[in-house]
């Protein structure tokens, strides 16, 4: 996993969910981050699309359910559009 992307993703998630960045591990998910609800999930998707210039399909949006999954899908998408 690209450590730079992981760092940026963690910082964004910390901002959006309102938790300290060091509390977020690659395994953090809606199950253990209390403020990660459906509205904040939508906010996260919007922020990722703005920040990385990518677009997620409905199926992908449903899969973005841990810090690690988010970071790796962002990395994959960026490769797809040739900016990674």
């Amino acid at each position: 996993m690209n450590p730079e992307i992981l760092d940026r993703v963690r910082q964004m998630m910390a901002d959006i969910f309102g938790v300290p960045v060091d509390q977020l591990t690659p395994a953090s998910s809606p199950d253990n981050v209390e403020t990660w609800d459906s509205i904040q999930h939508l906010n996260l998707v919007m922020a990722l699309e703005q920040e990385f210039g990518v677009q997620f399909s409905p199926e992908e949006i449903e899969q973005l359910l841990s810090v690690e999954l988010v970071a790796s899908l962002v990395e994959e998408k960026k490769k797809e559009i040739g900016v990674a």
């Binding site: 910082q11 959006i16 939508l42 906010n43 919007m46």
Partner: protein, 636 residues
């Protein structure tokens, strides 16, 4: 970016809130977006109560998903000095909310309400069934939509004094009949799809123009500016009921801010501009007048001419222009007044500081000369170093961030929400001329042998008119504007919007007085407001304020004499009012004492002053001609 966050955390942790706010603003300037917005919203909660922020509460009624735009809206507001909270209605619950007297729309203390309904939801037959409609069907769809808007606006205005901002309906990207749609001749016959939607928007505009505190947000123009092809996202619509792309959320939030700033009174009164490489290309001291670039139709000079055009537009909106430049005054003034490509000339500027002093000092002098607070100034300068200097040494001033390419300067000015206005008075349009007359008055003051001589030579005529629902369209908006903007001579600093003023002037025990002042140099326009409430045998002064333009001319004594005389005529025995001190209203602190009032009560927020009308009188100064519109003053 992360370093900036660490610094912010440190400043907040150590209680340096003003420094933290400056860094928060910088973070927002450097990386505006949803993630940063989330962080700013958290910062806002921690800064609340420690730095001056104007509170505002907005409810958004909508037919589509707008949740992700809310943090962007709140973050932008915080950067502009507004502590904003936002509530969203349920989807498509707007009609019920307008109808239900117990809905949060009416029970919550709201600053403003935004009605964001898409064409697809409000007029579905015009959005995607237009090809099947008859002319009569189109007409009825248009009438139905306008009638709904009218019903909601009427209900809302009857029960709420909050401002109401209504999105226009957007046009379809592809009209049902293709290019044929643009050939429609007769809107009344319902010939075109876009024409029909435009007709609804026209109806909405008429409705807003006729109702105080109701404003139109041209949502269709916003989409067009971005480009329809870049606006929509079909996948988002089908999955999360959000019709637009993520990147456009910020544009919606920015458009809302253009309304929130004037609604909350967080607006600029003066724009102060640099000269070299800002108002023209090049450095006049080195390149000479022939060498600088400014021209409407030449490649190199056009960006600067465009900035001048944007500034000239602001001046027509009532915003004063001023210059702060490091230059030889002779070179600079000659360039301004003799360069053939210049649009702005020295007569356009209300104050000028050209010399070698630092810009922060120039800005302070300009604020003092124009009698406004530093926080009423916006500073425009191409040089990032000067901008940073001003941000550090005059943090109250709003410093406009300019792009590196001069062709973006005009746009930066046009997008700044501090310059937005929701109504224009005659005073706004004539402001620069009024300031020129002000300079004449100052010269007279300096040459008069005594202050009384000066007052006499001014030949002031004060006209006091009671605001009624009948004359409200002519004077009401300016009265509301004055309560929003006046900071220095203002005894209670109570802010009222148009709807609140309309409500007050219709109440039997309340009186709203509008004060206009003329003198030998011209008409100062409507410059004062006094709001009173009669209860038992006492007339209570709820608000008493005057534009800084007429401070120090004994106009306040003339107003008070009329208020006291009016109270006596109604058989009232006592006149009383609060002085509520703020950071800015020191110029009015001595008002009650100077007019013979004594302190009746002292509280943490201020003092209640009282005058016995049986034993005391308030005469009008002999040098002022006072005209009270008796017809309006007498209660029916």
């Amino acid at each position: 970016m992360n370093d900036l966050r660490k610094q912010i955390e440190q400043e907040i942790g150590e209680g340096r809130y003003a420094e933290a706010k400056a860094l928060v603003d910088r973070l927002w300037r450097e990386s505006p977006g949803s993630a940063t917005a989330g962080y700013l919203v958290q910062c806002g909660a921690r800064l609340r109560g420690h730095i001056p922020l104007a509170p505002a509460r907005v409810r958004i009624l909508r037919s589509f998903t707008l949740e992700p735009a809310v943090p962007l809206f709140r973050a932008g507001a915080l950067a502009g000095g507004i502590d904003l909270s936002v509530e969203l209605s349920e989807f498509n619950a707007y009609a019920q909310e307008f109808l239900d007297p117990g809905s949060p729309l009416y029970t919550e203390p709201l600053t403003a309400v935004i009605l964001a309904v898409s064409t697809r939801d409000l007029a579905p037959e015009l959005w995607d069934g237009f090809a099947d409609l008859s002319a009569a069907g189109t007409r009825s769809a248009v009438e139905h939509a306008i009638a709904q808007f009218r019903n909601w606006v009427t209900l809302f205005r009857a029960s709420s004094q909050a401002s109401l901002v209504i999105h226009t309906l957007e046009m379809p990207p592809f009209p049902s009949h293709g290019v044929l749609d643009a050939q429609a001749r007769d809107r009344a016959e319902g010939e075109g799809q876009c024409a029909a939607i435009a007709q609804i928007n026209d109806g909405l505009r008429s409705l807003a123009a006729a109702t105080p505190g109701v404003y139109v947000l041209d949502f269709d123009a916003l989409i067009a500016r971005r480009g329809r092809d870049h606006w929509y996202d079909a996948t988002k619509w089908f999955t999360v009921r959000m019709p637009m792309r993520a990147e456009n959320l910020g544009l919606i939030a920015a458009e809302w801010l253009k309304f929130l700033h004037p609604i909350t009174g967080k607006v600029a009164k003066v724009v102060v501009t640099d000269l070299d490489n800002t108002l023209w290309g090049g450095v006049v001291g080195e390149d000479g007048i022939q060498g600088i670039q400014v021209h409407r139709d030449e490649h190199k000079g056009a960006p600067y001419w465009n900035l001048q055009r944007a500034l000239a537009d602001l001046q027509q909106r009532g915003i004063l222009l001023a210059i702060a430049s490091k230059n030889n005054p002779e070179d600079a003034l000659q360039a301004i007044d003799s360069h053939p490509g210049m649009l702005l000339r020295s007569r356009h500027f209300a104050a000028t500081r050209i010399g070698w002093g630092d810009k922060a000092s120039s800005l302070r002098e300009i604020a003092a000369e124009l009698n406004v607070g530093l926080d009423s100034l916006v500073f425009v300068d191409d040089n990032p170093v000067e901008r940073q200097m001003v941000r550090m040494s005059a943090p109250e001033v709003t410093v406009l961030e300019l792009p590196a390419d001069p062709s973006g300067y005009a746009r930066a000015v046009r997008e700044c929400p501090l310059f937005e206005r929701l109504a224009l008075s005659n005073e706004d349009r004539e402001r620069t001329g009024m300031y020129a007359a002000q300079a004449e008055r100052r010269r007279l003051e300096q040459s008069a042998s005594s202050i009384e001589d000066f007052y006499r030579s001014l030949a002031q005529q004060v006209e006091i008119t009671r605001v009624t629902p009948a004359n409200f369209p002519a004077v009401g908006p300016r009265v509301a504007q004055l309560t929003q903007k006046t900071n220095q001579f203002n005894l209670t600093t109570r802010r009222y919007n148009e709807a609140q003023i309309l409500d007050l002037c219709g109440r039997p025990d309340w009186d709203v007085y509008a004060v206009s002042v003329r003198d030998r140099f011209g008409d100062n326009g409507l410059v004062g407001v006094c709001i009173t409430r009669d209860e038992d045998s006492t007339r209570h002064i709820d608000s008493f304020l005057m534009s800084c333009r007429v401070i120090g001319r004994t106009v306040e004594t003339a107003i008070l004499s009329a208020v006291a005389a009016g109270a006596k005529a109604r058989g009232l025995r006592r006149l009383e009012g609060w002085f509520l001190p703020t950071r800015k209203n020191a110029p009015s602190a001595g008002f009650f004492r100077q007019h013979g009032f004594s302190v009746a009560r002292q509280e943490e927020t201020g003092e209640l002053w009282s005058l016995d009308l049986g034993s005391a009188t308030v005469p009008c100064p002999e040098w002022i001609g006072l005209n009270v519109d008796e017809k309006e003053t007498a209660h029916a």
